[in-house]
Amino acid sequence: MKRSRLPGLTVLILLVFFYLPIVILVINSFNLHKYGGEWSGFTLKWYVRLFQDDAVWHALRNSLIIAGVSTAASTVLGTLAAYALHRSNDRFQKIHHGLIYMPLVLPDILMGMSLLLFFVAVGFQLGLTSICIAHITFCISYVAMVVLARLQDFDFSMMEAAYDLGANSWTATTRVLLPALAPGITAGALLAFTLSIDDFVITFFVAGPGSSTLPVHIYSMMKHSRFMPVINALSTLLLLVTFVAVGSSQLINKQKGADLP
């Protein structure tokens, strides 16, 4: 069959489409011109201004605290959930599965709004704690799905072998099951951390005064065009962090692959 050119062309155009805004953003972070319409000279002044902005650093601190707490809690809750879902398929677990699955499909804004209503209705003070609760809630589902995938490859006769060799259930769990699941749990935790750091919509709804996370702070900066070049600089730094993280994880994977016979 003669190959059509259409798919190749689509790929080319879409890749330009995907990367064009990001490339322009990075270039503009070094551009003296405020709106980046034209190149008016190289500057680092936006970066200097960024480093002098205390609010940015305060927001980053909040983001890291929230991501740390929600990752820890959701990893434990999600892993337990995955184990329960995997071991049994009765009606109770079907409901459990539904509860885990629904947060993955509902739009963020519904979860944000419903949690805001909940916190207001029960009179809960909005702040770092309410944000943590919200983040744990949506992270559980992601962790559970990732760990569940890993559990499907685990051979439970290994556990029985451990019992036959005299291990009690604590030893069998900590020495056999958990080490086998470790890559899945780590992947789930990393995903939870990324989602928590990145989330804007849900956080925006349940944040209180003084509890701005980095995305919430970026959003408030976006509302004023004088901050545009500073956001460019901040975004470029965040991009750099992402690329370094992705690049190193790729390298580690490649090395692991090379070690295998």
Binding site: L25, L99, M228
Partner: protein, 283 residues
Amino acid sequence: MPGQRMKGWMISLPSMAWLTVFFLLPTLMIFIIAFKPANPLGGLGEGWTLRTWLELGNPNYPSIIWRTLRLSFYCTAACILLGIPFSYYIARAPERRQRALLLLVIIPFWTNFLIRVFAWKAVLHPEGALKHMLVAVGIASPDTMLLYNEWAVLLVMVYTYLPFAIMPLYAAIEKFDFALLDAALDLGAGRATAMRRVFLPGIRRGIQTAVLMVLIPALGSYVIPDILGGPSSEMLGNKIAQRAFADRNLPHSAALSALLCLCVMLPMLMGTLLRRKRTGGAA
């Protein structure tokens, strides 16, 4: 074994309890609070009322709901139409290139969503690069507005949700047996017929998943129209946020959220029914 069963319960309890209190209950609350009156302090009043729902008849809302449905539908259609040839190319490429291309699709995803939307604001800005280029080529006049309209919102919605479509489409196409396509061609089908009668039905499940993966978040769009749209391109999500923050009328935003929830549930339900019918027919 009763002990085994007890253990299953105990292990499920933490996540069950957490999600019941912080997910199920709040979601149900959307529907309950929509029937509560607001109090002037921005909280909730005593008693029950239908006033909020009657206020939704206000001529503003039908047009906003219609725009939300229309933009989400266009966005979904565009993502499927662009996603199929894109995923087709990836699935048929040599394995090394497949992995590289998939990574290239995902990388923009790892950058913060807000930043991606913001990057478009700079591209489409009246003083921005694209505008200068278009004016120089003569496509746009100096007072053409690229920003703050429905087109800008739609463009960036496609930009944001396209990878959601590409992933399930790629997974389906990768599993598709291309010998079937060759067989159809050998049996005298034209290329278009073979694509329409063999290829598209073959990746049907992938298309269904892709539609849901794009349509549902698209319906709940809030940031994109907020940053790139104007007052004439607001969507349901913007109204929810406005009622919650600007006017602090929680019952009102609850009623709008309930409406959005129903809009989202409908395609999900249809997807489930379709699947059930198919599997029922096959058995």
